[in-house]
């Protein structure tokens, strides 16, 4: 599924990172605790979270996550958006909750599988 399809499914708004709209996304991760995000390495992944600080971008950077969707209508501040821009990370925002967002993407075929799962 492409990022532009995810935008439609979640009725999301693109904040930054238009260059990744054609990027293929296979798996998803929904969490507000960044160490939980880092516990499972996934490929071609979208991170859904309600946390909007710079550490979300840093976590994405460490994990090679190229797309983040902020839920519950949250939008990060300018510093966070700028850091995402610098790192080539796409930011979306949706009014849906974390649970509903994950459910919609899962129903549409996004999986939760990690690549290094034991």
């Amino acid at each position: 599924m492409k990022v532009k399809d995810i935008i439609k499914i979640l009725d999301a708004k693109l904040i930054t990172g238009e260059e990744n709209l054609e990027l293929d996304i296979v798996s998803g991760c929904g969490a507000d605790l960044m160490s939980d995000v880092m516990a499972y390495v996934k490929e071609s992944v979208i991170l859904l979270t309600g946390l909007t600080n710079t550490q979300v971008i840093r976590t994405a950077e460490m994990m090679d996550i190229q797309v983040i969707c902020f839920v519950r209508g949250k939008c990060p501040n300018e510093d966070v958006i700028n850091l995402a821009k610098e790192r080539g990370i796409t930011i979306l925002t949706t009014k849906e909750t974390l649970f509903i967002s994950c459910g919609k993407l899962y129903s549409a075929g996004i999986v939760g599988r990690g690549v290094w799962n034991e």
Partner: protein, 142 residues
Amino acid sequence: MSDNIIRLHYDIDADDFSSAGLASSGTKRMLNQLGFNPAIVKKVAISMYEAEINAVIHADGGCADVEITPEKIVVVISDKGPGIPDIEQAMQAGWSTATNEIREQGFGAGMGLPNMKRYTDDMKIETELGVGTKVTLIINVN
């Protein structure tokens, strides 16, 4: 290959939580530039970032020293924090002494040390109460 060692040093500043991760970010970029396998780079980046965050939230900062050779990458994060009273307990997934304030920032889930162990080939914790903690993370390249 002693002539083939690259050493990096970073101070880890704890004044501003939003700047935490700069050392790991710099190291990741250097490893990418050097052409290391992306899976290896990711292991170093995640484990180092967790250790760096720990130094910020538990120990008022510290420093990071990275030694890069073609065979392995060694990351040492040292702090002058309170030390870890019970390492075995600290290694348990979900156990944390972090405050609610830290949890609101997305950390303190008790997954930091388990994640470091998960992504490293060898990990050593030296700690002394009231003196500080030194975490050594070793990731083999092959």
